[in-house]
């Protein structure tokens, strides 16, 4: 996808450290410093509660866990963006991250595809993390690959 979606999302202030981190291309996750489990979006550790949560830089890498290629514009602002790949990436640290897959055709996205963050610097105040295949030419990838 080449075009930029509208910034029509006003996030929870709880997540502000994540979006601020994006401006300097740091992919932060909300980590429990006791068990070192990472969470996204901002959360509370299911074992240790909220007191031990800190935003911590992570790898910004993972695999496509599942995805859909969107062919229908449910709202007008997406009409000139279709088709686009909406994916859930399983980050190396564990959490899921909803995103777009860029850097390959939507038809080439597949479950198990290794991806890494692609920083989409929209303007001085907005950077959105999308994900792109680590191997640029992925059309020959085995689609039966199990992750």
């Amino acid at each position: 996808m080449s075009a930029t979606p509208p910034m029509n999302y006003v996030g929870h202030t709880f997540d502000a450290p994540f979006w601020d981190g994006c401006l300097t291309h740091r992919f932060l996750l909300h980590r429990c410093t006791i068990c070192e489990r990472d969470y996204w979006p901002a959360s509370t550790c299911i074992e240790h509660g909220s007191k031990s949560m800190e935003w911590t830089e992570s790898s910004g890498a993972g695999v496509v866990h599942t995805y859909t290629v969107v062919h229908h514009a449910y709202t007008p602002e997406w009409a000139d963006k279709i088709p686009y790949a909406l994916a859930v990436v399983r980050l190396t640290e564990g959490p899921f991250f909803h995103t777009n897959i860029v850097g390959c055709a939507p038809a080439d996205v597949h479950v198990g595809m290794e991806v890494t963050v692609f920083w989409d610097d929209i303007d001085a105040d907005v950077t959105i993390p999308r994900f792109a295949p680590i191997t640029p030419h992925s059309t020959s990838t085995n689609k039966d690959n199990r992750d």
């Binding site: 290629v69 449910y74 909406l86």
Partner: protein, 392 residues
């Protein structure tokens, strides 16, 4: 697994009234009016007087307006919302209210007009059910429940080799049912797998005919004790068991996209209360906004093994003469979309022997499911299991 199910409520309560408004596209009837029509029809169905309703469970933020406009005088009125699980859980809440002495007769009412002005969302905006958006994923174009369910479908295809034709088999089967039912949107309009395959791709892997359409409509069910229900005009549908499960549990373990819902605890609780096994189910009414939902629920309930749902449906097992007749009114896909009240009303009709051309002969036990909870970052959260039985 859930705690041991308390069987003590089983058989003590019944749905004693069912009221439907017209269900359809662009009816031009306000949601509040649809709820009024549904309630009036439920009162007529049961023979209860308006003054008998001493508990009211609404399913929208407009609940307080409901009770005034509908001329009710309940001792309590509350609204509850857990997406498509709301319908069956409203029955659960009604049972709880009656058990604890809050009321004797509880009306649970739904009514929405997404194609006549839209539904009121949590943030006050209006739109069809299909334009719900999701927290930060909305920034990436995650709009509508279709995408949320497509994420499950893709996982299922990846893990088990489920195909678009398998999905199509669900759509074709339910349209076959709907084509026989005058109250269904698909009445008189059967379609073939070829039609399904030729329908346009919407959100891969869903084609147009894998998706339900919004419709306007209202539904009201009235819950009371089995003793009282037996004295009323309508045929009681006995509440044999109710169960709950929540996919947040699978979110924490990273299995949420592999699991359509958290069905295991809901099933264990409801079946435990009812004292039944899967073989005892005569007919299933499963929450089915998208074709994959039927496949994954048939597997999770155990009607077939994991990954076998597609071939199971393709082999005709969900047809009227199949192993488990499913969504005999066409479901949401081809009947009408009244959230969880689609499945609930069909389960009731089967138990009451009022399903007309798609009535399963001697249907004594019906499985009703509900699923949903739009918002946050996903919508496949809550799961409800309701077991309804004939009073025999």
């Amino acid at each position: 697994m859930s705690r041991a199910a308390d069987a003590s409520i089983s058989g003590r309560f019944a749905v004693a009234g069912l009221g439907m408004s017209p269900q359809g596209r662009s009816l031009g009837i306000p949601a509040l009016e649809l709820r009024k029509i549904a309630l009036e029809n439920a009162l007529t169905d049961s023979g209860l007087a308006r003054s008998d309703i001493d508990g009211y469970i609404g399913t929208s933020s407009e609940m307080f307006e409901d009770i005034r406009y509908l001329g009710l005088s309940p001792r309590f009125a509350w609204t509850m919302q857990s997406g498509g699980a709301t319908a069956s859980w409203s029955v659960l809440n009604a049972v709880g209210a009656i058990l604890t002495g809050q009321a004797d007769v509880v009306a649970c009412t739904y009514g929405a007009a997404p194609t006549s002005g839209g539904v009121v969302r949590v943030d006050g905006s209006r739109g069809g059910f299909g334009t719900y958006s999701y927290g930060y994923p909305a920034m990436y174009g995650m709009v509508g429940a279709g995408m949320a369910h497509a994420l499950h479908a893709r996982r299922h295809m990846h893990k088990y080799g489920t195909t678009s034709e398998h999905l199509g088999a669900v759509a074709v089967a339910q349209r076959a049912h709907a084509s026989l039912r005058p109250d269904a949107q698909g009445f008189g309009q059967p379609f073939t797998l070829n039609d399904h395959q030729n329908s346009r791709m919407v959100v891969d892997p869903f084609r147009l005919l894998d998706c339900c359409r919004d419709t306007d409509g209202g539904v009201c069910v009235i819950v009371t004790s089995i003793e009282r229900a037996r004295d009323l005009r309508s045929t009681p549908a006995v509440v044999l068991g109710v169960g709950t499960g929540h996919n947040i549990r699978n979110w924490w373990t990273g299995d949420v996209y592999d699991m359509h819902d958290d069905i295991a605890p809901a099933k264990a609780t409801a079946f435990g209360q009812a004292g039944i096994d899967l073989d005892d189910i005569d007919v299933a009414a499963l929450y089915d906004p998208f074709s994959i939902s039927v496949i994954m629920q048939l597997e999770a309930y155990g009607f077939c093994g994991p990954g076998e749902g597609g071939p199971f449906v393709t082999a005709g097992n969900t047809m009227l003469d199949g192993a488990i007749p499913t969504n005999t009114g066409g479901g949401q896909l081809s009947g009408f979309y009244a959230t969880g009240f689609t499945a609930l009303s069909e389960g009731l009709r089967q138990i009451r022997g009022e399903a007309g051309p798609t009535q399963i002969p001697n249907a004594e036990i019906a499985l009703v499911s509900g699923h949903g909870g739009n918002g946050g970052i996903q919508n496949t959260w809550a799961h409800a299991t309701l077991i309804l039985g004939a009073d025999r």
